[in-house]
């Protein structure tokens, strides 16, 4: 009983120090609101409002029709007519246009002769991902146009691909970003809280007082862990609500599975935070330490770029990155209604990581306490 009541009083003290100042309370809520409001609009690989430069040397009907299709598709909000190769160069060079289309003078004649007319599309290689996506928009508009032409001429293509997207049929980027954001913002919040809590006490000299109290190092760790887990749950719930109520992302899976996964994730994270905390002397060192862990962990989580594009050895290394597993849990449960078995297969690495980091942190604590 004393065990529980001692931990309870320590946890209460931690919460008090978190909420006591206005700036402390602000730091728990403001970044969440700011990031939830900005990220879904900024962090998108979707190509919108792109411009297409068109250098048309052909006078025929087909080229005009094709251009009209491109203009009407909605993928490009601006069509820039250019009249010379020099202007094509300029429009790409100054980033005025993402793509440039060059229609040769014999375009319509070749189609009339039954040959394949080739249209050169120039892509800005400095923005290779965007320009490739924009190119695939062009390609699909052209496919529809060709099919219509074939239909008008009474020809039937021998086969066609009927493509659909599952889970998020219209490839809405906010559906992809918000679940990942649950994972990322939770990470920043609970990691900074744990990493700074011990080093702040050490800088202010109150850590020694804690050590001479009847609390054991393990109890101190639990007392530091509980508020961090609570902060993580609180921030995650905020974003979850914003995702469902404000951004209208439909939540498909089970809340119990999501929060269960979140619990084990928080433990793994708290372990990392406490470890950083136990090896740093000042708040500055703890902050920079948390930064040095956080940035690579988030960048390599599969949120910015898919894990499968990394070299194989790096894919294996990311197994020890807790953010990676949690991003997959949130996305899986949120968008795909992932099964219990699937979530378990993602949780067990988290248990291993949590066990490892918490043990390390406990060892460091005991050494400091001794």
């Amino acid at each position: 009983m004393t065990f529980l009541s001692r931990i309870y009083s320590l946890v209460r003290k931690e919460f008090q120090s978190l909420f006591s100042t206005k700036s402390g309370r602000m730091l728990l809520v403001m970044p969440v609101i700011l990031q939830t409001a900005l990220f879904p609009f900024a962090a998108t690989l979707e190509v919108k409002n792109a411009s297409l430069a068109v250098f048309n040397e052909d006078r025929g009907r087909a080229s005009v029709e094709m251009m009209q299709r491109f203009a009407a598709s909605g993928a490009f909000n601006r069509i820039i007519p250019v009249w010379s190769p020099q202007e094509v160069r300029e429009s790409i060079g100054t980033r005025d246009a993402l793509l440039a289309v060059h229609i040769p003078a014999d375009f319509s004649r070749k189609i009339a002769n039954g040959e394949t007319s080739t249209v050169q599309v120039i892509l800005d290689g400095r923005r290779s991902n965007s320009s490739q996506i924009a190119f695939s928009y062009l390609q699909s508009v052209l496919d529809v146009y060709l099919k219509d032409r074939a239909g008008d001429a009474g020809r039937v293509v021998p086969s066609e691909i009927i493509s659909r997207n599952w889970f998020v049929p219209n490839l809405e980027y906010t559906y992809f970003i918000l679940p990942s954001l649950v994972a990322i913002i939770t990470t920043i919040g609970s990691l900074i809280v744990t990493a700074l809590s011990v080093s702040r006490e050490r800088e202010q000299g109150t850590f020694e007082q804690l050590l001479v109290s009847p609390l054991s190092p393990e109890m101190i760790m639990i007392g530091k862990a509980v508020p961090a887990v609570a902060v993580g749950f609180f921030q995650a719930t905020l974003i979850l609500l914003a995702a469902v109520w404000i951004y209208h992302v439909s939540f498909r899976g089970s809340l119990a599975l999501l929060y269960g996964g979140m619990f084990f994730y928080s433990l793994a994270l708290v372990g990392v935070g406490l470890f950083i905390s136990s090896v740093s002397k000042t708040q500055q060192q703890a902050f920079l330490g948390a930064f040095v862990f956080m940035v690579p962990a988030i960048l390599l989580s599969g949120y910015t770029a898919p894990v499968e594009n990394m070299p194989l050895w790096l894919q294996r290394v990311t197994w020890i990155n807790p953010v990676r597993h949690f991003v997959e849990i949130v996305k899986g449960v949120f968008l795909k209604d992932a099964s219990f078995g699937r979530v378990c297969s993602l949780v067990w690495p988290l248990i291993v990581i949590g066990f490892g980091t918490l043990t390390l942190a406990a060892l460091m604590f005991r050494r400091k306490a001794a």
């Binding site: 900005l38 900024a42 962090a43 998108t44 690989l45 979707e46 190509v47 919108k48 409002n49 792109a50 087909a62 094709m66 790409i92 394949t116 007319s117 080739t118 892509l123 800005d124 290689g125 400095r126 923005r127 290779s128 991902n129 965007s130 490739q132 190119f135 695939s136 052209l142 032409r149 039937v156 021998p158 086969s159 066609e160 691909i161 493509s163 659909r164 997207n165 998020v168 490839l171 559906y175 700074l196 500055q284 060192q285 902050f287 920079l288 040095v292 940035v295 690579p296 960048l299 390599l300 910015t304 770029a305 499968e308 990394m310 790096l314 996305k331 899986g332 209604d337 992932a338 699937r342």
Partner: protein, 375 residues
């Protein structure tokens, strides 16, 4: 009164430099972090899908179906896995084993041969990963088009396509995303050194009370500003050269520009971020708050709003407006130009002009804040 005494300035700069080298966390941020970040951006952040995992289910026993399946399997962009039921395909898609699947339905071979009938092929992509889904669709479509063209050719038919698009990349002919991400990522590294580190260092001086001691000495405002700017400018430039060197010689990103261009662009950008960092720490005087503010005001915008991963033109109008006051935006485009296109002053000068403006604004702001603090 003299504005600058060179002897005092030298002494102050020397003190600042010593502090940099004595603090392990500043060395961590200035030399270890750049290497770590370059390494991550070089190997970890790759937007090129070299092997897309795609599931395949053939429900048709005919030769045409097998032929198309072989075309899919033979594509060097796809890693095709066969499944024996639709349920297995669906489970694999939920579990992220595959990013999409192709189903060749019954009767495919018969319908393909039949004149006047279109044989459908079903393609399902994982919409929860929109970027990957786009690439799955365009890659499978590409394979299918090539297959159709070959098939028509083999049978002596006229080419089925009337119009073909021929993509050509300019500036980065192999279309490797790392060639533009790495130059862009140097921006993030420079921001961390320029803003995050300086925001901590000056605030620490206030926290520890050494700033009062400095202010009580005959140091002028210009000297005070310069002694904070010059050592970190030097540190930043060394870091920039380190980054460009590692990017070029270790990560093999082509560097087509020249040193003077790099120096001009780097100087103005560093002055801008140093201005931000110093303004924050002069205004905050508290390490923890300054670090948080620098994280939100300098680091996150450099990642999210500078356009090095996320295209600025795709953002809504109000965010696009915000990006105009972010120096990182101009540094990203000029670094990409210097690396990929070479020293083309006609492309560079608008960015340099904007960077000069932002550095003037932020350093001016710091000077103003410093003045108020000193009175």
């Amino acid at each position: 009164m003299n504005w600058i005494s060179w002897r005092r300035l030298r002494a102050l700069c020397w003190k600042e430099t010593l502090q940099i080298f004595r603090d392990p966390s500043s060395i961590l941020i200035a030399f270890f972090m750049p290497l770590l970040m370059l390494f991550i951006f070089g190997y970890g952040i790759n937007l090129d899908f070299s092997r897309l995992r795609v599931g395949l289910r053939i429900e048709d026993g005919g030769g045409e179906a097998a032929d198309f399946a072989a075309a899919l399997t033979g594509s060097r962009w796809l890693e095709v896995r066969s499944y024996d039921s639709r349920a297995a395909l669906e489970r694999a898609l939920v579990d992220c084993e595959i990013r999409g699947f192709v189903v060749i339905p019954e009767d495919f071979s018969r319908k393909v041969k039949q004149v006047g009938v279109t044989a459908p092929v079903q393609l399902v992509a994982d919409g929860s990963e929109p970027n990957i889904a786009q690439f799955v669709r365009s890659t499978v479509n590409g394979v299918w088009q090539t297959w159709q063209a070959h098939r028509a050719e083999d049978r002596g038919e006229k080419m089925s396509r009337e119009i073909a698009l021929e993509p050509r990349f300019w500036f980065n002919s192999s279309a490797e995303s790392r060639n533009f991400i790495i130059p862009g990522s140097i921006t993030v590294i420079m921001t961390v050194i320029g803003a995050l580190l300086t925001s901590l260092v000056v605030a620490r001086e206030w926290e520890r009370g050494t700033m009062e001691a400095l202010l009580a000495s005959p140091v002028t405002r210009t000297e005070l500003l310069l002694c904070k700017i010059l050592p970190y400018y030097g540190l930043g430039m060394v870091s920039l050269l380190l980054c460009v060197g590692v990017a070029h010689w270790v990560l093999r990103v082509p560097f087509r520009g020249t040193m003077p261009a790099l120096w001009v662009v780097g100087t103005f950008f560093l002055l801008s971020v140093l201005g931000i960092g110093l303004a924050i720490s002069t205004g905050m005087r508290n390490q923890f708050n300054a670090a948080q503010a620098a994280l939100n005001a300098a680091f996150l915008p450099a990642v999210m709003l500078s356009g090095f991963i996320y295209e600025i033109s795709s953002m809504p109008v109000f965010l696009r407006g915000v990006t105009h006051i972010i120096p990182a935006r101009y540094f990203v485009t000029s670094m990409q130009t210097i690396f990929q296109a070479g020293t083309d002053w006609s492309l560079l000068w608008p960015d340099i002009l904007m960077l000069a403006c932002t550095s003037f604004v932020f350093i001016g702001l710091t000077a103003k804040l410093t003045k108020r603090r000193m009175e």
